[in-house]
């Protein structure tokens, strides 16, 4: 066990990705990726589109089955289990059980359009955790309050702005009391003026100590919130490090090129506003 600078033992590893390869047809989207995330750690994953960031997140959630390698959550492999000394595929039910501990926020929100905001948040607790309505409703209302949407509880998703929908989606994930939150470009589908409200909710969550894996194009957010930034390109982790180190002095030429391109673009979009 490694220890921190203060001599206290470092927190346990929550997510362990080992030798993860994912092939779609002829294309290796992920190539032998290794990554581990400790309890309470916030890791930002950045990189150009098509670099495998989203696929990595989806493999961790087992929405994609790895071609080889594996993912373990809290020491338990997701998707396969040891039976008579051989790794066998898990049943849908067993995978579902592990997923209750993982929250995932999607680029397109994926709220259930036929349910109100409150019903969206209550669905997991009532249907999966078997809470009664009386137990689930205060929990759901509390979470809607936490994301600043208590007054929208009775609204259907189509009545909400993109930013509001994404905040409800975050509340919906939190209702399952997950120990890990995955954010898949949570702000990429939003109008620029709505991005801030979602990032603020994510900041609060980080402050509360949630373990977070965040695929993002928001470099400022990554720099402020992440303990570690991982840069991916062509299906590999090219470089990782503390945010200020990676952003200020990236060592790999690809990271340098990517950051230069992104910083130029963000500077251009930010100048007129300020």
């Amino acid at each position: 066990m490694t220890s921190g600078p203060t001599g206290e033992p470092a927190p346990a590893v929550l997510v362990e990705v080992i030798g993860l390869t994912k092939r779609f047809g002829e294309i290796d989207v992920l190539k032998e990726v290794d990554l581990s995330v400790r309890v309470g750690e916030k890791v930002a994953i950045i990189g150009p589109s098509g670099s495998g960031k989203t696929t990595l997140l989806r493999c961790i959630a087992h929405l994609e089955r790895p071609t080889s390698g594996h993912v373990a959550i809290g020491g338990e492999r997701i998707g396969e289990k040891l039976v008579n000394a051989r790794w066998r595929e898990m049943s849908d039910r067993e995978i579902a059980r592990i997923r209750t501990g993982i929250g995932m926020v999607f680029q397109r929100f994926n709220l259930f359009p036929h349910l109100t905001a409150l019903e969206n948040v209550m669905l997991g607790p009532t249907r999966v955790l078997k809470y009664s309505r009386a137990e689930a409703e205060p929990l759901a209302r509390g979470l809607l309050r936490k994301v600043g949407l208590a007054h929208k509880a009775a609204d259907y998703p189509e009545k909400l702005s993109g930013g509001q929908q994404q905040r409800v989606a975050i509340a919906r994930s939190l209702a399952m009391q997950p120990r890990l939150m995955l954010f898949d470009e949570a702000t990429s589908a939003l109008d620029p003026e709505l991005i801030g409200e979602v990032l603020n909710v994510m900041r609060d969550l980080a402050r509360d100590g949630m373990t977070m894996l965040v695929v993002t194009h928001e470099m400022k957010f990554a720099e402020d919130v992440a303990d570690r930034v991982v840069f991916m390109d062509h299906g590999r982790i090219v470089e990782e490090g503390r945010p200020h180190e990676l952003f200020r002095s990236p060592s790999h030429p690809r990271t340098q090129a990517f950051l230069r391109a992104v910083v130029d673009r963000q500077a251009m979009t930010e100048t007129p506003a300020s």
Partner: protein
């Protein structure tokens, strides 16, 4: 004039037939919808033997005339010791035949729901089956309501075929009365009016149901 009065006198018999028509329609519709919904969901569970069996069922039962299926159920099954009365025969026959069509209707409905809905439900810890049942199906039902309404109206009219297996439905009653009274025009026109009176509300009900299921949607 006297013909009108005669038809008026025969109306109760025709209405009795209409009740049987409604029973066959309702029974077969419920059966077909249950079959269609169940099989469409089962198809999406990625279990190959089941998927192939369902595909065979759909292809076979769509390809054989419903009249032939009714004959097989009513006359054919007696030979292997299963004897169904005309009315249950008709319900089973139309139900199984309709189930093949509705499997396809529900399949299209389920496929119209974005994959992200399934993934979001799975990430809340639901199994695929639970997600299909709780999240996907309620949304798909809204999509399939118009074809479901079409199916119900078509079914109502097709039940006239059940007269061929002596089910005492509207056309069976009408034909029996015409044989006795020779008032073909009056009796068949009256039967047509009764069919119309039953079909039109079905269209209205479908639109009502659509409005109800559209909550949360434009």
């Amino acid at each position: 004039m006297s013909a009108c009065l005669t038809v008026w006198g025969l109306l109760p018999v025709l209405l009795l037939g209409a009740v049987a028509t409604a029973e066959i329609t309702a029974g077969a519709f419920v059966l077909a919808a249950l079959i269609g919904m169940t099989l469409a969901v089962a198809q999406r569970l990625h279990w190959y033997p089941l998927r192939i069996a369902i595909a065979i069922y759909v292809d076979v039962f769509r390809a054989v005339p419903v009249l032939t299926q009714l004959f097989i159920i009513y006359f054919g099954l007696t030979e292997i010791g299963i004897r169904l009365d005309p009315l249950p025969s008709a319900i089973v026959g139309f139900g199984i035949n309709g189930g093949a069509y509705l499997t396809e209707v529900f399949r299209a409905g389920l496929e119209s729901i974005h994959q992200g809905q399934m993934e979001a439900a799975q990430m809340l810890g639901m199994t695929r089956l639970t997600a299909l049942r709780i999240v996907i199906l309620p949304q798909a039902v809204r999509v399939v309501l118009p074809p479901l309404g079409n199916f119900a109206i078509g079914l109502l009219k097709d039940t006239a075929l059940a007269s061929a297996v002596a089910a005492p439905e509207l056309m069976f009653r009408a034909r029996t009365l015409v044989d006795k009274t020779f008032l073909a025009t009056q009796i068949f026109t009256t039967a047509a009016a009764i069919y119309l009176a039953m079909s039109l509300p079905l269209g209205y009900l479908t639109r009502q149901a659509e409005a109800r299921f559209s909550r949360g949607r434009r």
